[in-house]
Symmetry: C2
Amino acid sequence: MSATAKPLGRRAGESGTREAILRAARERFAAHGYDAATIRAIAADADVDPALVHHFYGTKERLFVEALRFPAVPSELLSRVTSARRSGLGEAIVRTVLDVWSSEATRAQALALIRSAITNERAARMLREFVTGTILSVLATAAADEDAELRASLVASQIIGLAIARYAVAVEPLASASDDEVVARVAPTLQRYLTGSLPPR
Amino acid sequence: MSATAKPLGRRAGESGTREAILRAARERFAAHGYDAATIRAIAADADVDPALVHHFYGTKERLFVEALRFPAVPSELLSRVTSARRSGLGEAIVRTVLDVWSSEATRAQALALIRSAITNERAARMLREFVTGTILSVLATAAADEDAELRASLVASQIIGLAIARYAVAVEPLASASDDEVVARVAPTLQRYLTGSLPPR
């Protein structure tokens, strides 16, 4: 770490600084999208020198990828969900997603990814990969059929919409409904998308 | 219209110019969100002098409201949907929404509103009012119960998520599925949200 790139203020060492930068990046990307968020502004939010951000993460693109990576979420989601019985998959997914989003940081991360994905092709690709990778691997344990990818993308559409309506736009009374209430309403939707019989074509 | 505020280039009179400004505004708000979109940039996109935008619409805030107003949509949606039988409400809503979004302009408008609503409180309020106003008035003709507002917000969550997954992020194969396919999969979701029996509490 060069002398000019020292974090300003007190911070619990390098990992604390890295985490502060990632948190600031998530918030900036969430609020402004990829294109409008600058390294300079992210560094200011994290109370560090911009050079330190470059030192740790290189380019804005790499910072974006790191900030919006879902590190613990997929494996946690996968293990919780893959242990559910087939008829309980919808419920396991909604409950896991709501639990994950009960953390402000994870919620900001999800919203940053969704918002950036609306207009930025790299973010869109990350979101698509997350959707197809994670949800498809859940499906592989359940009812994988020739229709698995459409099923997965329909599940994603409801989860994305739930994130936006409940947390970002705060449509009431969905925004203040209890997790149990949301699970009771939304789980059957995911269950049908995942394992419901195909409509006649 | 002042001499300095004349539209540049050929345009079919004032209404054509106004429409070009609204179209440019929708695209800017969709791509950058409310805060980052400027009158200057919108004017440049519409090929007019910024003074003309101010002349027609006053402030950016008023331009935003005008650009993201859903003029024909709600009444069209309402009449199509309210004439559906109760058990066909889910299908009528999805089909109407997809038909409306088959126009590039309306789709840009919807995405601009959703994207801006994620971070801008005024846009969020517009979206909430649209959701509660329009969907609740549909519900009033169907199964209005004490639960009507939660039902409406759940319908909104799936429609918002469908807009983003299918059009903005282009999650495949949902993005290229036919309208009929999407109706067949999503209509039962909306139908259950609207008229399904309440889960036990």
